[in-house]
């Protein structure tokens, strides 16, 4: 009985500890707003800001691809974003990245929904 109580207590403590970690991970994988502008400070910060957002988008794209649900233009949008960034067009690069990120996020939502929804469409 005592062992069971210990397991239960450990489980709740673990959940309590993990909660903020899970919340942070979810926050990190969220796409940013397409209206977001690159902070007008040093070029180093602009690059860093773009890279952070680009990585979020690229990770989501890869997750969608792994689920077999990637949309047609997501990858090419990211290629374009990278080209714009290379030319120093940070805001343009960021807007294209935001578009790609939203596509990847929606593709993942679609895959998640379809994992069960398809069954209702089978001809009976």
């Amino acid at each position: 009985m005592r062992v069971n109580n210990m397991i239960a207590r450990s489980f709740f403590i673990l959940m309590f500890v993990l909660q903020p970690v899970v919340a942070v991970s979810a926050e990190e994988s969220k796409c940013f707003s397409p209206q977001e502008q690159i902070p007008a400070d040093s070029p180093g910060n602009q690059k860093l800001h773009f890279e952070q957002q680009f990585n979020v988008a690229e990770n989501l794209r890869q997750a969608a691809a792994s689920a077999g649900a990637e949309w047609l233009k997501t990858e090419s949008l990211l290629v374009r974003a990278r080209e714009e960034a290379a030319s120093g067009n940070w805001n343009q690069a960021l807007q294209i990245t935001a578009k790609a990120c939203q596509q990847a996020e929606l593709a993942l939502q679609q895959a998640q929904y379809e994992s069960e929804a398809w069954k209702s469409r089978v001809i009976k």
Binding site: N5, A65, A69, L72, Q103, E114
Partner: protein, 279 residues
């Protein structure tokens, strides 16, 4: 407590594992055929092998004219030359297929007993080449399309009778995956194969009618007039996937092979009538 956690984990694991959706393959096929028979009561079952020409009379009239000088004839001739090729070890394609070219098309796709993978005709051609020390053909390339066009031409009139052994978990899993792919919405337009070729079959998409899925695989490969070349079933599927703005899979990918397995099983009882001619 431990029992409760274990039971919870087992429940979650069960949810995670793919479960066959509702009915078995035979029941699925009966319902699939019945749907189209009820939807298009004037179309005889055998006509579905002609794809859109079973539904669209104007397109059918054009197709009949086109068939007077079949545009796939050159591919069939090239395929015949390739079929007669003797490999470096003295063997040929007929050794791999254990039959004449006239007895092949309707047997594909099938599930390999060892690997559990769906083997399509194009894949079987390349496996044959590899087994006899030949370089594989590029999927979607001129040679493999010509060879499959010749095999399809010689196999005309034979009836598809694809097996899905319900006691073989690998065959059943491949079938279920193909079925899942067929009914799943994908891409930016959020459309499934079934949305266009079941629910909207016979209706217009721009200036063309949408074909019925029943009979889709029977006439491939086809000569596509707009491309001026032959086209495999997987290339056509990739075109549809692109049209709904999803990223297409590789030709002969597991996804497309499983889909072909499902679709061809649905078309059992129809004659092999490839190669076809399409707009």
């Amino acid at each position: 407590m431990i029992k409760a956690i274990t039971a919870g984990l087992i429940f979650l694991f069960t949810l995670a594992v793919h479960q066959p959706a509702f009915a078995g393959p035979a029941e699925d096929r009966r319902a699939f055929v019945a749907y189209f028979e009820s939807r298009f009561p004037d179309i005889p079952f055998a006509e579905y092998a002609n794809g859109i020409y079973a539904i669209d009379q104007d397109a059918r009239n054009q197709w009949i004219e086109i068939e007077e000088f079949p545009p796939y004839e050159f591919a069939v001739e090239q395929g015949e030359s390739l079929w007669q090729e003797t490999f470096a070890d003295g063997k040929s394609y007929s050794d791999c297929f254990n039959s004449s070219e006239a007895d092949v098309r309707q047997n594909y796709p099938r599930v390999d007993g060892l690997t559990g993978e769906v083997i399509t005709l194009d894949m079987a051609i390349n496996l044959c080449r590899e087994e006899h020390g030949q370089k594989s053909f590029e999927f979607g390339g001129e040679e493999i399309l010509a060879l499959s066009a010749f095999i399809a031409f010689e196999s005309r009139g034979n009836v598809f009778d694809i097996m899905v052994d319900e006691d073989d978990p690998q065959a059943l899993a491949a079938y279920e995956e193909g079925k899942r792919f067929y009914y799943s919405k994908r891409g930016q337009l959020n459309l499934s194969c079934a949305d266009c070729h079941v629910a909207s079959a016979g209706q217009y998409v721009r200036a063309d009618h949408l074909s019925a899925s029943l009979g889709h695989p029977t006439h491939f490969p086809v000569y596509r007039s707009k491309l001026g070349s032959m086209l495999s079933l997987h290339q056509r599927v990739a075109g549809c996937i692109r049209d709904v703005r999803a990223k297409p899979f590789d030709l002969q990918s597991t996804e497309y092979r499983n889909l072909e397995y499902f679709l061809t099983y649905m078309s059992n009882g129809l004659e092999a009538n490839g190669p076809g001619a399409r707009k």
